[in-house]
Assembly symmetry: C5
Homo-oligomer: 354 residues x 5
């Protein structure tokens, strides 16, 4: 079962803006990485707690604050209050049951996305990413369950290669979203491989386990759809530049990512159609095999039934049964049985029952 | 069966605005709780009948009148007339067959919602809540079947903690709606648990009872959808601030509740897809087991059929059957039978029929 | 089969505006009831033919002309020409194959609706009602198959109680539509009861007849949907006051009826989902029972097959079969058979095949 | 199979505006009928080839040129060039694979419709009709496979009865479209009758042929939908008077035809739902009968199995079998068999297996 | 399996605008064909590499640069930079996983389409075509897997016949798109033929292979839909002339192609409905045959069961069985058996079980 809204009910009846961490609990410390950069300079500071982070955010450079781990809600509360974030934003950040969404709070945009994780266990693993895009800063929140997901982007920032450092906060957000959407393609490829395997299994050796696998595949698809469609909405809104925080040149890049999300949805829907079809084929395949077996056995049975009857007739104990006295009676009857059996075999073969 | 519009036909042919209570009849007295509050003060008065309530509603403070129990229609009529409510509003309040909806009567908004109750019996239990939002007052109507549902909110008002007392009537309505939407998450969690159990049952030990459970689950889903979708519409309209009775800061909170309703619908649709799939798996699971059984039995039968035939042959009473005179005839034949049986067993095992 | 457009082809190739009565033919005379009323006065005249009606329609009061029976097309033609109705309106009035619709002819609105009749025979019985709303008059046409359907409204007009006589022609039309929509709730309740019964039947004693009933139920649902959805469109257009013939206060009442139609559609769709599910349960229920039976019989057969084989072995006529000479041979073999039978019973019971 | 786009590929790679006749080839000559009329006068000239037609189209009267047969593309090319028709229009006229559509070329409207033919063979027969509506002229193209389809309209023009001659070119087009839409009702009635028959067959005597018939019915429905939906779009566009070539009074008539197309679609969709349901009933009906048969046979078999076993026991050749010596042994055993058989019959009947 | 996004993950984490060729790798050299033409003149130059092409594009004539083969990404990068193409356009050109789309970059339009290839292997083969439409130039990119696809258009340009040379760049793009859309009709015809064959096979001789074929057909349909729907969007946008690069006369031609895409989608959807129906018929057909077989065999078995029982009775070894001593006992019993067999045959035939 997709664990939708598990534990959510603990919030029932609490006033809005109450921060409660809902989700898997990371056993690591909260880690905060603060990067300040201009086209020329790059400074990075990693601190192990949110407490120290309250002095940052100077206006001279672009600042990217990345928070890993969501379970120390009091610190996040304090941090959010310092940065002037709306209580509802903080509430949503620590609740990992969010659908992907974009909210415009005027001064900043609040974006929630789901990154697909490498799947060790069955099901589609997801990690919630919150992005806050302000005019001169970007704040990101990761669940921090599998370590830092933004490593490659940070690396590119450090190197200073490409456009990344010379462009605004919106371009940084674009880069992060692009990375997240790329994780969908990786998942889709794995799904595609799994479906191919399943197709082979269904046609070659369908077993009782196959149904369970198809059901699991369907559930994965349902989960993927649930995050893919709202993802598209988020990117569509960004690309249409409904907020002034997104500049025109970056909107072109966002249109590209939007296209990718359309491709993702397209693939998910195609896979879904194929998987639905699989169950039908599985059922028809199973029932075909079953029927072939039962038909074969029934045919075998049917051939012996008249033979057994004949032998029964000559097993009767009547005193006057002329055939019993015949010299070649036995051989005639056995010959007749043979003839009947062969005749039935030929008949059944002609009817393609054998 | 969902009891849709049961008893509704008693209204057939009556002029509009005729108040008739449609719904389960509470056996308690109608209870009215009137709360008047400002940021500093809070006064509450509980009266056991609507008769006394007609003197209230002074403009100096925010007034919240909560009515529990809908069956004394004459009193509700009188009360409604005093407060200047439209006859159709009163008609809808006492008819618990309403879909969630929002109606703008200019001076006030009339909102109907369904609160999900804890489910003792099967099915999704619902209680209809009517909310009237005026500039300085809120009037709420509960069915009153399971006691006061708004206790926690009243408690928060009394304490004076949080934003509740310092904000307007729209914020009170938001708080009540938030509570109602939270009840959906509780129901969804229970549903999710039930579905998980059902999935286990379908795969491990499907029985004839399972179909009935799946059908019941489907019906619960249909009922949940019927209230969840219009709920979203209501919140969408509120959030878009189509009425001036909703202020901009509260609209942000309403957007948050709107998001919750989208999550609810999302979960309901996902559950629905999963439950639909369950029936397919159940059927394939059942027919798999059935077929395995019948195949096994048929194979057993098929092994004995030729053996029985052989014994029949040597049970014939022909006078001249040379084998019958052979010294080792009996043992040869039994040996041959054994050989045939073993051969068939090997053959069937190879074909994976056993 | 729903008799959709039966006999419609007789019109093929005729010029537009040719009046041809299509529908069930009432065997009664056409009856015309003319009511003229103001807030204070009420005059009613019932005439048995349309011929006399051509002198009416004085502007000093509200006039309601109600025509029962549609088969005398020449009279309706003449009447329509006198009142200045468009030929296409007249053509539609006498053709009972209309979908519910609203047409604005500037001076008047032409509304077609379907009233659901009490169902003696299977299927959803319908009667077509045409309403013409002018500034100071209302003209209604009933099929007249089951007598006057507007009796209760006429009674209310006579009594002069309620708002009916003090308001305009649009309110009269609203009252009539309200009555018609109420007939849908009555039908829905009956349908709901039938579905409940069917659900019981499907689970408790599904028979071959059940399929037919489910099919019939589905067809009723299809027919109900076909009239319910356009009905909603009609009321939506009226409520939005696209025509000046509808006044603002009446629009509030029409919004209420619009809500009712939404409830009707809601219920129809929910019932439809449930009925679709019923066939699945029926099939699974039937095949479950079938399979249980066949499994039971197969198990019985399988127990006797080896026993019969054993008896066959000792029925062979070999001269040298040592067991046959044993003193207790017979009893040993019978005991062995008993042992085999019990062993198989225990095995099958353990496998839950019995 | 619906012959969709058969032979269409011959056009692949040719420049646009290349006229190639695609469709069934009529073996008749192309026939052209030219009618010029005013309210008072009517002149008609039938010519057997397009060559002579190039002198016509005088502005003093309304001209209707009707072309029957599309296979002489060079003549149609020449004719079209003379009349100033766009090359793409000519290309579409001779290609009978068009969907119904409306194209506004400023000076004239180009309308393609499908007329349903009387169905001798299975499937829904269609003939493509092209209509060109100019300010003072109407040009129509028929495939000419079954003779002149517009006979009744021409007859009405000759008689001069009704509105036809006193109104403009748009009214003539309306009349022709009305006739075409009427052909859908005729087809629908036939389909309705066929479905009724099929329903009876499915319930009373389902055979292997029935599946094929249901499939054919489904395909007919698919084809009908494919022409009915775009037909509605065409009429919707006409009725909304998007072109100035349609006058307001005629738009009212077109709204009426639009209503008819909605009725057609409505009926097609209802039929489609019913036909989909039919396959389910057929399958359940077939499997019910099958199961009843097999259950009956299995019950019969099961009754004899223990009896045969008993007779086998007393067919054993043990020397010491006391019952064999009993005086009434035989009769006792036969009586016991009878008792067992009757007991099983009673048991099976109670279980409703017989 | 449709190979959706295979190899796409290699791009994961790379900065945007990084050119990576994704798709089948052609083993030919990249070929560039440059055509410059006015109404009077036509010059063509074929070069084997992109390196030489950087000097072209003079403004005096229309220039069409056609690039075949996408695997030398550095050259395409360089070429794109020279022509001023956006990095994202270049990225999309070399990634053959694109959905058909249209992007407006102000100075030029970027269009991606899929051309359907002749299908040797199973599945719908596709080749990605990128078109860039500027005011005075057209640049096209083919995958180059099967040689030059634009031969016929180039030929028409050389000849100078038709409108092609006298019109603008938009008309050239129209001509190319028209050619691409024509390739869909060819594919559809082949699909139509395959479906017809499959329908015959399903009804006449359904085998286990048939399911696989239906599944394959469904997948082809899914793939076709995936490219057909966005193709329609592209043409709809072009035809609505959202860009000034498309002139009004050419828009009329584009509307024609748009119509073709609607026909394609229409046909695909119809085929899809038919193919879905096929599986149902296949299953019912298979189970019909199966059941007929098993019924036949069961009936045969059932006839012999009582006969065998009778012979068993008279095979019992009781000392006192009067019938055994009767002179005609044997013949009477055999006659009785015959009578029973014939009676059962008649009974089964009457019940239509044989």
């Amino acid at each position: 079962m997709p664990r939708i809204n598990k534990d959510r009910s603990v919030k029932s009846g609490l006033p809005p803006g109450t921060l409660i961490h809902i989700g898997e609990r990371s056993d690591r410390e909260i880690r905060v990485t603060i990067a300040e950069y201009t086209e020329k300079t790059y400074e990075e500071k990693a601190i192990s707690s949110l407490k120290e982070s309250f002095y940052y955010m100077e206006p001279k450079a672009l600042t990217w604050i990345d928070v890993e781990g969501l379970h120390e809600v009091e610190l996040i509360q304090k941090f959010g209050d310092t940065q002037g974030l709306h209580p509802l934003v903080l509430e949503d950040i620590v609740n990992t049951n969010q659908r992907p969404k974009l909210e415009d709070y005027g001064d900043y945009l609040y974006i929630v996305l789901k990154m697909l994780r490498d799947r060790g266990e069955p099901g589609v693993g997801m990690e919630q990413i919150s992005l806050i895009l302000g005019p001169h800063f970007v704040i990101t929140f990761q669940e921090g369950l599998r370590g830092d997901l933004f490593g490659p982007v940070r690396e590119r920032l450090r190197n200073g290669k490409g456009r990344l450092r010379s462009m605004g906060a919106d371009y940084l957000v674009y880069t992060l979203i692009d990375m997240i959407v790329d994780s969908y393609f990786t998942s889709l490829e794995r799904l595609g491989d799994d479906i191919s395997e399943l197709e082979d299994e269904v046609v070659r050796e369908p077993g009782p386990e196959t149904t369970r696998k198809i059901h699991q595949m369907k559930r994965d698809m349902i989960q993927l759809r649930r995050v893919a469609w709202p993802l598209r909405e988020v990117l569509s809104a960004l690309e249409r530049r409904e907020s002034t925080l997104v500049s025109a040149p970056v909107a072109i890049y966002l249109r590209d990512v939007y296209d990718h999300t359309v491709q993702v949805i397209d693939a998910v829907e195609a896979y879904r159609d194929i998987v639905s079809g699989l169950l039908d084929i599985y059922l028809s395949s199973i029932s075909n095999r079953m029927n072939e077996t039962i038909k074969f056995l029934t045919v075998i049975g049917t051939i012996f039934i008249p033979l057994t009857f004949i032998s029964g007739v000559y097993g009767m104990n009547f005193q006057f049964m002329p055939e019993l006295q015949w010299r070649w009676g036995y051989f005639l009857v056995v010959g007749f049985m043979f003839f009947v059996a062969v005749g039935m075999l030929v008949y059944f073969r002609r009817k393609r029952w054998l």
